[in-house]
Protein backbone atom coordinates (compact mmCIF):
# COMPACT_ATOMS: atom_id res chain seq x y z
CA UNK A 1 0.00 0.00 0.00
CA UNK A 2 1.24 3.47 -0.78
CA UNK A 3 1.88 5.87 2.07
CA UNK A 4 -1.34 7.83 2.38
CA UNK A 5 0.59 10.99 3.19
CA UNK A 6 2.02 11.00 -0.33
CA UNK A 7 -1.35 10.85 -2.01
CA UNK A 8 -3.07 13.98 -3.19
CA UNK A 9 -6.70 14.83 -3.80
CA UNK A 10 -9.22 12.37 -5.17
CA UNK A 11 -9.50 12.45 -8.94
CA UNK A 12 -12.68 14.15 -10.04
CA UNK A 13 -15.60 11.77 -10.41
CA UNK A 14 -16.57 11.07 -14.02
CA UNK A 15 -20.32 11.47 -14.02
CA UNK A 16 -20.71 9.48 -17.24
CA UNK A 17 -19.80 6.34 -15.29
CA UNK A 18 -22.92 6.87 -13.20
CA UNK A 19 -26.68 7.00 -13.62
CA UNK A 20 -28.36 10.29 -14.39
CA UNK A 21 -30.32 11.82 -11.51
CA UNK A 22 -33.51 12.32 -13.50
CA UNK A 23 -34.71 9.34 -15.53
CA UNK A 24 -38.51 9.61 -15.90
CA UNK A 25 -39.07 5.91 -16.71
CA UNK A 26 -37.87 5.35 -13.12
CA UNK A 27 -40.79 7.31 -11.78
CA UNK A 28 -39.58 7.96 -8.25
CA UNK A 29 -36.56 9.80 -9.65
CA UNK A 30 -38.78 12.59 -11.01
CA UNK A 31 -39.31 14.29 -7.65
CA UNK A 32 -36.13 13.01 -6.03
CA UNK A 33 -33.53 14.35 -8.47
CA UNK A 34 -31.74 17.62 -7.73
CA UNK A 35 -32.07 20.13 -10.56
CA UNK A 36 -28.88 22.14 -9.99
CA UNK A 37 -25.51 20.78 -11.04
CA UNK A 38 -23.48 19.63 -8.02
CA UNK A 39 -20.68 21.95 -6.93
CA UNK A 40 -17.08 20.74 -7.11
CA UNK A 41 -14.08 21.50 -4.93
CA UNK A 42 -10.77 19.70 -4.35
CA UNK A 43 -11.06 16.93 -1.77
CA UNK A 44 -10.00 17.79 1.77
CA UNK A 45 -9.54 15.74 4.94
CA UNK A 46 -13.34 15.60 5.26
CA UNK A 47 -13.45 13.47 2.10
CA UNK A 48 -10.00 11.84 2.29
CA UNK A 49 -10.50 10.17 5.66
CA UNK A 50 -13.30 7.76 6.34
CA UNK A 51 -14.80 5.74 9.16
CA UNK A 52 -12.54 3.01 10.48
CA UNK A 53 -13.79 -0.56 10.94
CA UNK A 54 -11.95 -3.67 11.97
CA UNK A 55 -12.40 -7.38 11.44
CA UNK A 56 -13.11 -7.59 15.18
CA UNK A 57 -16.30 -5.61 14.61
CA UNK A 58 -17.79 -8.46 12.57
CA UNK A 59 -19.36 -11.74 13.59
CA UNK A 60 -18.25 -15.10 12.23
CA UNK A 61 -21.41 -15.62 10.15
CA UNK A 62 -21.82 -12.03 8.96
CA UNK A 63 -20.68 -13.00 5.45
CA UNK A 64 -22.78 -16.18 5.30
CA UNK A 65 -26.39 -15.30 4.45
CA UNK A 66 -27.24 -19.00 4.21
CA UNK A 67 -26.89 -19.34 7.98
CA UNK A 68 -26.70 -15.91 9.65
CA UNK A 69 -30.42 -15.45 10.36
CA UNK A 70 -32.30 -18.67 11.12
CA UNK A 71 -32.00 -21.26 13.84
CA UNK A 72 -28.45 -22.50 14.28
CA UNK A 73 -27.53 -24.72 11.37
CA UNK A 74 -30.79 -24.12 9.46
CA UNK A 75 -30.05 -23.08 5.91
CA UNK A 76 -31.92 -20.57 3.79
CA UNK A 77 -33.79 -22.07 0.83
CA UNK A 78 -32.58 -21.46 -2.69
CA UNK A 79 -29.70 -21.98 -5.08
CA UNK A 80 -26.47 -21.73 -3.11
CA UNK A 81 -23.98 -19.23 -4.51
CA UNK A 82 -20.66 -17.63 -3.63
CA UNK A 83 -20.17 -14.00 -4.55
CA UNK A 84 -16.57 -12.88 -4.50
CA UNK A 85 -14.31 -10.30 -6.05
CA UNK A 86 -11.77 -7.59 -5.46
CA UNK A 87 -12.16 -3.97 -4.51
CA UNK A 88 -9.63 -1.64 -6.12
CA UNK A 89 -9.36 2.09 -6.64
CA UNK A 90 -9.42 3.61 -10.10
CA UNK A 91 -5.63 3.40 -10.32
CA UNK A 92 -5.65 -0.33 -9.63
CA UNK A 93 -4.53 -0.23 -5.99
CA UNK A 94 -6.33 -2.75 -3.77
CA UNK A 95 -8.68 -1.19 -1.21
CA UNK A 96 -8.02 -3.11 2.00
CA UNK A 97 -10.29 -2.82 5.00
CA UNK A 98 -13.31 -1.69 2.98
CA UNK A 99 -16.64 -2.55 4.58
CA UNK A 100 -19.06 -4.20 2.16
CA UNK A 101 -22.64 -4.52 3.34
CA UNK A 102 -25.08 -6.45 1.15
CA UNK A 103 -28.82 -6.94 1.13
CA UNK A 104 -31.11 -8.84 -1.15
CA UNK A 105 -34.45 -10.55 -1.71
CA UNK A 106 -34.79 -14.24 -0.93
CA UNK A 107 -34.88 -16.94 -3.60
CA UNK A 108 -38.54 -16.17 -4.28
CA UNK A 109 -37.92 -12.45 -4.79
CA UNK A 110 -39.28 -11.36 -1.39
CA UNK A 111 -37.56 -8.89 0.94
CA UNK A 112 -37.87 -9.06 4.71
CA UNK A 113 -39.18 -5.49 5.14
CA UNK A 114 -42.33 -3.87 6.54
CA UNK A 115 -42.96 -1.97 3.29
CA UNK A 116 -42.71 -5.08 1.09
CA UNK A 117 -45.97 -6.65 -0.10
CA UNK A 118 -44.99 -9.15 -2.80
CA UNK A 119 -47.02 -12.37 -2.72
CA UNK A 120 -43.93 -14.61 -2.60
CA UNK A 121 -43.35 -15.99 0.92
CA UNK A 122 -40.68 -15.09 3.42
CA UNK A 123 -38.08 -17.75 4.19
CA UNK A 124 -37.91 -18.22 7.97
CA UNK A 125 -34.19 -18.90 7.65
CA UNK A 126 -33.26 -15.95 5.47
CA UNK A 127 -32.76 -12.40 6.75
CA UNK A 128 -31.19 -10.96 3.63
CA UNK A 129 -28.26 -8.96 5.01
CA UNK A 130 -24.56 -9.61 5.35
CA UNK A 131 -21.25 -7.81 5.59
CA UNK A 132 -17.54 -8.40 5.14
CA UNK A 133 -14.29 -6.43 5.28
CA UNK A 134 -11.85 -6.69 2.37
CA UNK A 135 -8.53 -8.46 2.88
CA UNK A 136 -5.16 -6.72 2.41
CA UNK A 137 -5.31 -7.58 -1.30
CA UNK A 138 -8.81 -6.10 -1.60
CA UNK A 139 -10.59 -9.42 -2.00
CA UNK A 140 -13.85 -10.44 -0.36
CA UNK A 141 -16.30 -13.33 -0.39
CA UNK A 142 -19.93 -13.91 0.64
CA UNK A 143 -22.13 -16.99 0.61
CA UNK A 144 -25.84 -16.60 0.00
CA UNK A 145 -28.77 -17.80 -2.10
CA UNK A 146 -29.48 -16.61 -5.61
CA UNK A 147 -32.07 -13.85 -5.20
CA UNK A 148 -35.25 -14.08 -7.24
CA UNK A 149 -36.52 -11.42 -9.64
CA UNK A 150 -39.66 -9.60 -8.53
CA UNK A 151 -42.33 -7.20 -9.79
CA UNK A 152 -42.38 -3.63 -8.49
CA UNK A 153 -44.79 -0.73 -8.71
CA UNK A 154 -43.36 1.58 -11.36
CA UNK A 155 -44.72 1.00 -14.84
CA UNK A 156 -47.65 -1.37 -15.30
CA UNK A 157 -45.43 -4.45 -15.54
CA UNK A 158 -41.88 -3.80 -14.37
CA UNK A 159 -39.71 -6.56 -12.96
CA UNK A 160 -36.37 -6.15 -11.26
CA UNK A 161 -33.66 -8.47 -12.54
CA UNK A 162 -32.14 -10.63 -9.82
CA UNK A 163 -29.69 -8.42 -7.94
CA UNK A 164 -27.70 -7.94 -4.76
CA UNK A 165 -27.35 -4.47 -3.24
CA UNK A 166 -23.82 -3.46 -2.18
CA UNK A 167 -22.92 -0.63 0.18
CA UNK A 168 -19.21 0.20 0.13
CA UNK A 169 -17.27 2.22 2.70
CA UNK A 170 -13.67 2.54 1.53
CA UNK A 171 -10.65 4.36 2.90
CA UNK A 172 -12.00 7.85 2.28
CA UNK A 173 -15.54 9.17 2.48
CA UNK A 174 -15.17 10.32 -1.15
CA UNK A 175 -15.25 6.61 -2.07
CA UNK A 176 -18.69 6.10 -0.52
CA UNK A 177 -20.82 4.08 -2.94
CA UNK A 178 -24.03 2.10 -3.05
CA UNK A 179 -24.69 -0.06 -6.08
CA UNK A 180 -26.35 -3.26 -7.28
CA UNK A 181 -24.82 -6.40 -8.73
CA UNK A 182 -26.65 -8.29 -11.47
CA UNK A 183 -26.19 -11.83 -12.77
CA UNK A 184 -24.81 -12.83 -16.14
CA UNK A 185 -27.46 -13.92 -18.59
CA UNK A 186 -30.50 -12.38 -16.90
CA UNK A 187 -32.87 -11.26 -19.68
CA UNK A 188 -34.52 -8.70 -17.34
CA UNK A 189 -31.37 -6.57 -17.09
CA UNK A 190 -31.82 -4.54 -20.31
CA UNK A 191 -35.53 -4.04 -19.57
CA UNK A 192 -35.07 -2.56 -16.10
CA UNK A 193 -35.75 1.19 -15.67
CA UNK A 194 -33.31 1.32 -12.75
CA UNK A 195 -30.52 -0.28 -14.77
CA UNK A 196 -31.36 2.13 -17.58
CA UNK A 197 -30.68 5.16 -15.38
CA UNK A 198 -27.09 4.37 -16.44
CA UNK A 199 -26.70 5.50 -20.02
CA UNK A 200 -23.21 4.10 -20.64
CA UNK A 201 -23.34 0.49 -21.84
CA UNK A 202 -19.91 -0.33 -20.44
CA UNK A 203 -20.89 0.96 -17.01
CA UNK A 204 -23.91 -1.36 -17.01
CA UNK A 205 -21.79 -4.28 -18.19
CA UNK A 206 -19.45 -3.82 -15.22
CA UNK A 207 -22.38 -4.34 -12.82
CA UNK A 208 -23.09 -7.79 -14.28
CA UNK A 209 -21.25 -10.54 -12.44
CA UNK A 210 -20.13 -13.44 -14.63
CA UNK A 211 -20.41 -17.04 -13.55
CA UNK A 212 -17.00 -18.09 -12.23
CA UNK A 213 -16.68 -21.84 -12.67
CA UNK A 214 -13.14 -21.78 -11.28
CA UNK A 215 -14.47 -20.76 -7.86
CA UNK A 216 -17.52 -23.00 -7.94
CA UNK A 217 -17.54 -25.57 -5.13
CA UNK A 218 -18.42 -28.90 -6.76
CA UNK A 219 -21.67 -30.45 -5.52
CA UNK A 220 -22.23 -27.37 -3.33
CA UNK A 221 -22.40 -23.82 -4.73
CA UNK A 222 -21.88 -21.90 -7.94
CA UNK A 223 -19.72 -18.77 -7.86
CA UNK A 224 -20.14 -15.30 -9.35
CA UNK A 225 -17.39 -12.72 -9.52
CA UNK A 226 -18.08 -9.04 -8.87
CA UNK A 227 -15.11 -6.65 -8.89
CA UNK A 228 -15.63 -3.12 -7.63
CA UNK A 229 -13.65 -0.01 -8.57
CA UNK A 230 -13.76 3.00 -6.24
CA UNK A 231 -12.40 6.48 -6.78
CA UNK A 232 -8.67 6.96 -6.25
CA UNK A 233 -6.28 9.63 -5.03
CA UNK A 234 -3.71 11.06 -7.36
CA UNK A 235 -0.07 10.83 -6.45
CA UNK A 236 1.87 13.89 -5.46
CA UNK A 237 5.43 14.53 -6.60
CA UNK A 238 7.90 13.74 -3.82
CA UNK A 239 11.63 14.36 -4.19
CA UNK A 240 11.19 14.65 -7.96
CA UNK A 241 9.84 11.18 -8.51
CA UNK A 242 6.46 9.60 -8.42
CA UNK A 243 5.65 7.86 -5.18
CA UNK A 244 2.97 5.43 -4.26
CA UNK A 245 3.11 3.01 -7.18
Amino acid sequence: MPDEAKLGSYAARLRENHPVALHPPYRTSVKRSPTYAPISFPSSPSEEYGPVFGHADLGSLDHDLLYNFGEAGASAIGPRIIVHGRVQDQFGRPVAGALLEIWQANAGGRYRHAREGYIAPLDPNFGGCGRVITAPDGTYEFRTVMPGPYPWPNGPNDWRPAHIHFSVLGAGFAQRLITQMYFEGDPLIPLCPIVRTIHDAGAVERLIAPLDMARTVPMDARAYRFDITLRGRRQTMFENRMEGL
Binding site: P34, S44, F91, S167
Partner: protein
Protein backbone atom coordinates in the same frame (compact mmCIF):
# COMPACT_ATOMS: atom_id res chain seq x y z
CA UNK B 1 -0.97 4.79 -14.90
CA UNK B 2 -4.10 2.89 -15.86
CA UNK B 3 -7.31 4.67 -14.92
CA UNK B 4 -10.17 2.20 -14.39
CA UNK B 5 -13.77 3.37 -14.53
CA UNK B 6 -15.44 3.77 -11.17
CA UNK B 7 -18.20 1.21 -10.55
CA UNK B 8 -21.56 2.78 -11.33
CA UNK B 9 -23.91 3.72 -8.53
CA UNK B 10 -27.44 2.35 -8.34
CA UNK B 11 -30.24 3.49 -6.11
CA UNK B 12 -30.23 2.19 -2.55
CA UNK B 13 -33.90 1.44 -3.12
CA UNK B 14 -36.73 1.13 -0.61
CA UNK B 15 -35.11 -1.66 1.38
CA UNK B 16 -31.76 0.00 2.21
CA UNK B 17 -32.57 -0.57 5.88
CA UNK B 18 -32.18 -4.33 5.48
CA UNK B 19 -28.54 -3.92 4.60
CA UNK B 20 -27.52 -0.83 6.54
CA UNK B 21 -29.77 -0.73 9.62
CA UNK B 22 -31.25 -4.25 9.88
CA UNK B 23 -32.10 -4.01 13.56
CA UNK B 24 -34.03 -0.80 12.87
CA UNK B 25 -36.20 -2.66 10.37
CA UNK B 26 -36.82 -5.63 12.63
CA UNK B 27 -34.10 -7.99 11.40
CA UNK B 28 -32.50 -8.68 14.74
CA UNK B 29 -30.14 -11.42 15.71
CA UNK B 30 -27.79 -11.00 12.76
CA UNK B 31 -25.74 -8.08 14.11
CA UNK B 32 -25.65 -7.15 17.81
CA UNK B 33 -26.51 -3.57 16.87
CA UNK B 34 -26.72 -1.47 13.74
CA UNK B 35 -23.53 0.12 12.49
CA UNK B 36 -23.18 3.83 13.17
CA UNK B 37 -25.66 4.11 16.03
CA UNK B 38 -23.51 6.75 17.71
CA UNK B 39 -21.29 9.56 16.41
CA UNK B 40 -19.42 9.68 19.73
CA UNK B 41 -18.68 7.43 22.67
CA UNK B 42 -18.70 8.29 26.37
CA UNK B 43 -15.96 10.74 27.21
CA UNK B 44 -15.78 12.52 23.88
CA UNK B 45 -14.20 15.95 24.25
CA UNK B 46 -16.00 19.05 23.07
CA UNK B 47 -19.36 20.78 23.09
CA UNK B 48 -22.33 18.43 22.85
CA UNK B 49 -24.70 19.33 20.03
CA UNK B 50 -27.62 17.76 18.19
CA UNK B 51 -28.06 18.06 14.43
CA UNK B 52 -31.57 17.36 13.20
CA UNK B 53 -33.76 17.96 10.17
CA UNK B 54 -36.12 16.55 7.58
CA UNK B 55 -35.32 15.67 3.97
CA UNK B 56 -37.99 16.76 1.46
CA UNK B 57 -38.68 15.62 -2.08
CA UNK B 58 -39.79 17.89 -4.92
CA UNK B 59 -43.38 17.85 -3.64
CA UNK B 60 -42.22 19.07 -0.25
CA UNK B 61 -43.06 15.69 1.23
CA UNK B 62 -40.76 14.36 3.97
CA UNK B 63 -38.65 11.45 2.70
CA UNK B 64 -39.50 8.98 5.41
CA UNK B 65 -37.70 6.12 3.71
CA UNK B 66 -34.33 7.88 3.33
CA UNK B 67 -31.09 6.95 5.06
CA UNK B 68 -28.63 9.69 5.93
CA UNK B 69 -25.04 9.28 7.05
CA UNK B 70 -22.93 11.81 8.93
CA UNK B 71 -19.12 12.03 9.05
CA UNK B 72 -17.06 14.49 11.04
CA UNK B 73 -13.78 15.04 12.90
CA UNK B 74 -13.35 15.44 16.64
CA UNK B 75 -13.57 18.77 18.46
CA UNK B 76 -9.98 19.55 17.43
CA UNK B 77 -10.59 18.83 13.74
CA UNK B 78 -8.94 15.38 13.64
CA UNK B 79 -10.64 12.44 11.95
CA UNK B 80 -10.70 8.87 13.23
CA UNK B 81 -7.48 7.31 11.98
CA UNK B 82 -5.49 10.55 12.19
CA UNK B 83 -2.70 10.85 14.77
CA UNK B 84 -3.99 12.31 18.01
CA UNK B 85 -7.66 11.92 17.15
CA UNK B 86 -10.03 11.63 20.12
CA UNK B 87 -10.60 7.87 20.47
CA UNK B 88 -14.12 8.57 21.72
CA UNK B 89 -15.09 10.19 18.40
CA UNK B 90 -15.57 7.56 15.68
CA UNK B 91 -17.24 10.45 13.87
CA UNK B 92 -19.51 8.30 11.71
CA UNK B 93 -23.18 7.60 12.14
CA UNK B 94 -26.12 6.66 10.01
CA UNK B 95 -29.75 7.39 10.63
CA UNK B 96 -32.80 5.77 9.12
CA UNK B 97 -35.24 8.66 8.91
CA UNK B 98 -38.27 8.37 11.15
CA UNK B 99 -40.92 6.26 9.36
CA UNK B 100 -43.69 8.65 10.48
CA UNK B 101 -42.08 12.09 10.38
CA UNK B 102 -38.99 11.66 8.23
CA UNK B 103 -36.86 13.37 10.87
CA UNK B 104 -33.19 12.50 11.31
CA UNK B 105 -31.08 13.28 14.35
CA UNK B 106 -27.40 13.03 15.24
CA UNK B 107 -26.17 13.60 18.79
CA UNK B 108 -22.50 14.51 18.66
CA UNK B 109 -19.84 17.06 19.55
CA UNK B 110 -19.26 20.17 17.51
CA UNK B 111 -16.48 19.35 15.04
CA UNK B 112 -13.29 21.37 14.83
CA UNK B 113 -12.03 23.21 11.77
CA UNK B 114 -10.05 21.18 9.21
CA UNK B 115 -7.52 22.37 6.62
CA UNK B 116 -8.33 23.09 3.00
CA UNK B 117 -5.92 21.71 0.37
CA UNK B 118 -5.15 25.12 -1.13
CA UNK B 119 -4.49 26.65 2.29
CA UNK B 120 -6.39 27.99 5.24
CA UNK B 121 -9.02 26.33 7.35
CA UNK B 122 -12.53 25.23 6.55
CA UNK B 123 -15.24 26.23 8.96
CA UNK B 124 -16.56 23.46 11.22
CA UNK B 125 -18.95 21.26 9.28
CA UNK B 126 -20.48 17.80 9.23
CA UNK B 127 -20.46 15.87 5.96
CA UNK B 128 -23.86 14.36 5.10
CA UNK B 129 -24.67 11.64 2.56
CA UNK B 130 -28.24 10.80 1.58
CA UNK B 131 -29.61 7.74 -0.19
CA UNK B 132 -33.16 6.56 -0.87
CA UNK B 133 -35.44 5.07 -3.47
CA UNK B 134 -35.38 7.44 -6.46
CA UNK B 135 -31.88 8.78 -5.71
CA UNK B 136 -29.58 7.20 -8.29
CA UNK B 137 -26.28 8.49 -6.88
CA UNK B 138 -25.90 9.28 -3.17
CA UNK B 139 -26.23 12.99 -2.42
CA UNK B 140 -23.24 14.54 -0.69
CA UNK B 141 -23.72 17.76 1.25
CA UNK B 142 -22.50 19.54 4.37
CA UNK B 143 -24.02 21.08 7.47
CA UNK B 144 -22.23 24.27 8.55
CA UNK B 145 -23.11 26.18 11.70
CA UNK B 146 -24.94 29.43 11.05
CA UNK B 147 -23.74 30.95 14.33
CA UNK B 148 -20.05 30.15 13.85
CA UNK B 149 -18.07 33.21 12.65
CA UNK B 150 -15.71 30.96 10.66
CA UNK B 151 -18.59 30.07 8.36
CA UNK B 152 -18.29 33.58 6.86
CA UNK B 153 -14.80 32.84 5.52
CA UNK B 154 -15.12 29.16 4.58
CA UNK B 155 -13.20 28.39 1.34
CA UNK B 156 -15.81 25.94 0.03
CA UNK B 157 -18.72 28.30 0.60
CA UNK B 158 -16.64 31.07 -1.02
CA UNK B 159 -16.60 29.06 -4.28
CA UNK B 160 -20.38 29.02 -4.54
CA UNK B 161 -21.52 31.35 -7.28
CA UNK B 162 -25.16 31.66 -6.25
CA UNK B 163 -24.67 33.28 -2.85
CA UNK B 164 -28.39 33.07 -2.13
CA UNK B 165 -28.08 29.28 -2.04
CA UNK B 166 -25.44 29.21 0.73
CA UNK B 167 -28.14 29.39 3.39
CA UNK B 168 -29.23 25.88 2.37
CA UNK B 169 -26.03 24.58 4.01
CA UNK B 170 -26.39 26.45 7.29
CA UNK B 171 -27.72 24.55 10.27
CA UNK B 172 -29.68 27.03 12.36
CA UNK B 173 -29.35 27.16 16.17
CA UNK B 174 -32.64 26.31 17.81
CA UNK B 175 -31.53 26.70 21.42
CA UNK B 176 -30.37 24.07 23.87
CA UNK B 177 -27.46 23.21 21.51
CA UNK B 178 -29.80 21.89 18.85
CA UNK B 179 -29.09 22.77 15.21
CA UNK B 180 -31.65 22.22 12.48
CA UNK B 181 -30.83 21.69 8.83
CA UNK B 182 -33.71 20.82 6.56
CA UNK B 183 -32.83 19.40 3.17
CA UNK B 184 -34.73 19.96 -0.07
CA UNK B 185 -34.04 17.90 -3.18
CA UNK B 186 -35.87 20.34 -5.45
CA UNK B 187 -37.73 23.65 -5.29
CA UNK B 188 -36.78 27.23 -4.40
CA UNK B 189 -34.72 26.08 -1.41
CA UNK B 190 -32.98 23.19 -3.19
CA UNK B 191 -30.01 22.21 -1.06
CA UNK B 192 -26.52 22.53 -2.48
CA UNK B 193 -25.03 19.13 -3.22
CA UNK B 194 -21.35 18.55 -3.84
CA UNK B 195 -19.33 16.61 -6.35
CA UNK B 196 -16.11 15.99 -4.46
Amino acid sequence: MIDYAETASQTAGPYVHIGCTPNFTGIDGVYPEDLGLRMIETGAKGDRITLTGVIHDGNGTPMRDAMIEAWQPDAAGRFAGQDGADPAVPGFARCACDPQTGRFQFDTVKPGAVPFPTGGLQAPHITLWIVARGINLGLHTRAYFADDPMTQSDPVLARIEHKSRIQTLLAQPKGDRVYEMNIWLQGPDETIFFDV
